[in-house]
């Protein structure tokens, strides 16, 4: 199998990959074809597991030697022992989750850290479309119509910051990026990120509660 170099990993995935320590135990929720897991296994020697609902994709992952469970991530995360993973990755999946709060809470049980990435719904192109056309917006990150989109949640960077705090997490790292879905290249957005970033990537950790 062809080795993927860091440059060839999709830009948002390469940010996630750069946050993962070598040898970590990683769970990738909604791992798709397994590109990130495969890269992390080869370059960072991780012990990785993926969960993927699509049977063909899950079978493809297993056929390339990855450990992947075919199933619904909301059920699959329930069976792991506490603290089973160093990092749980939820890449471009949060916007498709029915009960994000329930999911995030159960991820706090099984993982030390969670990495979440999602398309930013407050990008200026979306704001302008809604303002001037008055229709449900579409862009390259969110290309679907309202009636056929798998994305049942619209999330902005500002929303996520608030949400993660409410479900008991502290943000450790945050990276707003500007890239297009299949682009290998992108840029990190440091100013006016809620307006200019196409994606947000967050590394969060369970907030330590002071014992009384």
């Amino acid at each position: 199998m062809e080795l993927k170099t860091p440059e060839q990993l999709r830009f948002d995935l390469s940010i996630i990959a750069s946050w993962i320590k070598p040898g970590s135990r990683v769970l990738d929720l909604g791992c798709g074809h397994g590109d990130l897991l495969d890269w992390l296994k080869k370059h960072k020697g991780i012990q990785g597991t993926g969960i993927e609902q699509d049977k063909e994709k899950a079978a493809g992952c297993i056929s390339r030697g990855l450990s992947v469970l075919q199933g619904d991530l909301k059920d699959e995360v329930l069976d792991y022992p506490d603290g089973c993973f160093d990092v749980v990755i939820l890449s471009q999946t949060l916007q498709q989750v029915y009960q994000p709060d329930v999911l995030l809470k159960s991820l706090a049980r099984i993982g030390e850290q969670v990495i979440v990435s999602f398309p930013n719904f407050s990008h200026y192109s979306i704001r302008l479309q809604l303002l001037f056309r008055g229709q449900a917006p579409k862009n390259r990150q969110l290309p679907y119509s309202w009636y056929d989109t798998p994305n049942i949640r619209v999330i902005t960077l500002a929303d996520f910051r608030k949400f993660s705090k409410n479900v008991g997490y502290t943000i450790v790292k945050e990276c707003a990026i500007n890239s297009h879905d299949q682009d290998r290249n992108g840029t990190i957005v440091s100013l006016f990120s809620n307006l200019l970033a196409t994606y947000g990537v967050f590394l969060i950790e369970k907030t330590q509660t002071v014992s009384k």
């Binding site: 049977k55 079978a59 056929s63 030697g65 450990s67 992947v68 069976d79 792991y80």
Partner: protein, 375 residues
Amino acid sequence: MKVSKKYYTCDSQEKCQILESGLQLSPVTIAYETFGKLNSDGNNAILICHAFSGDSHVASVYEDAPEDTAPGWWDFMVGPTKGIDTDIYFVVCCNILGSCMGSTGPGSINPATKKPYGLDFPMVTIGDMVNSQKQVLDYLGVKKLHSVIGGSVGGMQALEWCVRYPEMIRSAIPIATTMRHSALAIAFNEVARQAIMVDPHWNKGDYYHNPGPDLGLAVARMIGHVTYLSDEAMRRKFGRKLQDKEDFSFNFEANFQVESYLRYQGSKFAKRFDANSVLYITKAADYFDLADNVNTEESLQDLQGSHSKFLVISYTSDWLYPTYQAKELVQALKRTGQDVSFCEIEADCGHDAFLIPDPRLSKLIGGFLNGIENS
């Protein structure tokens, strides 16, 4: 590549097998076949465990039995460059203890009476089958199993291997199997056993010098065969089509194709299989339970601390061991911290789907085996 059936016999007193029931069985002969070459470290071996009525003839054709030209039961999977690549792996398949395809079973001669055991044959368990396979692997010089693979009752053996000899196992692929029989599965087995035992020719298992309970055995196979198929497969294959007829005959001949097919399968099976072996093997499958330590000594909880890789495979139309049972197995493995992969394959051919050539299965198994690091 051709193959010949070989036999391993253990008759020494110290190695004689103590069964889970506490009884002794000696001598024990296990028929087996091997493919490919064992490397000098003895760690490139793959053990394939056959299902209830299978045998050691997993692939290729016999070089020394010109009358038996049938390729093995998993010929599409096992061979050079196939899913289980015999250019890379040393593949072993043993006929299970209690069977009648070369290994010791109820039809074998009891040394105490010089007659076939019949019901004097002790009850054997899946664990006993695994222990006898271990003796064969020790004899062959296998130190480590790259994988232990099996479908159905073979999958039970694969799981039992992981629990009994975790240090020997790098990976396991249980296919279309379960941690324990459901009431439905036990019920079907009981109907099969009763069909045999009510046949007057069964004679409490003592029939080896007389005509055997072929009718009962055929009926047992008919019910078994239905459980290996599925509603969809039977609809597609037979529907309500009539057998060589334009109209109903208004009697109890086989009118429908499905009736004729089951009768044919039943009588074919009666010619090749021993009725007592059906009784013993179905009972072993019914007793098998890795879900808890209550009724059996071993359970999947014993895997805590061991590190084998698992690939669990189920089929959408398998109603004997449905996907929910495979998922229970996956859950149990996850709870003990095992590295487990799972995939449900879309197929309408029911429980027997794993025996039907399918490039998806070959690719899954080949890729999984390839991804296991040597250790």
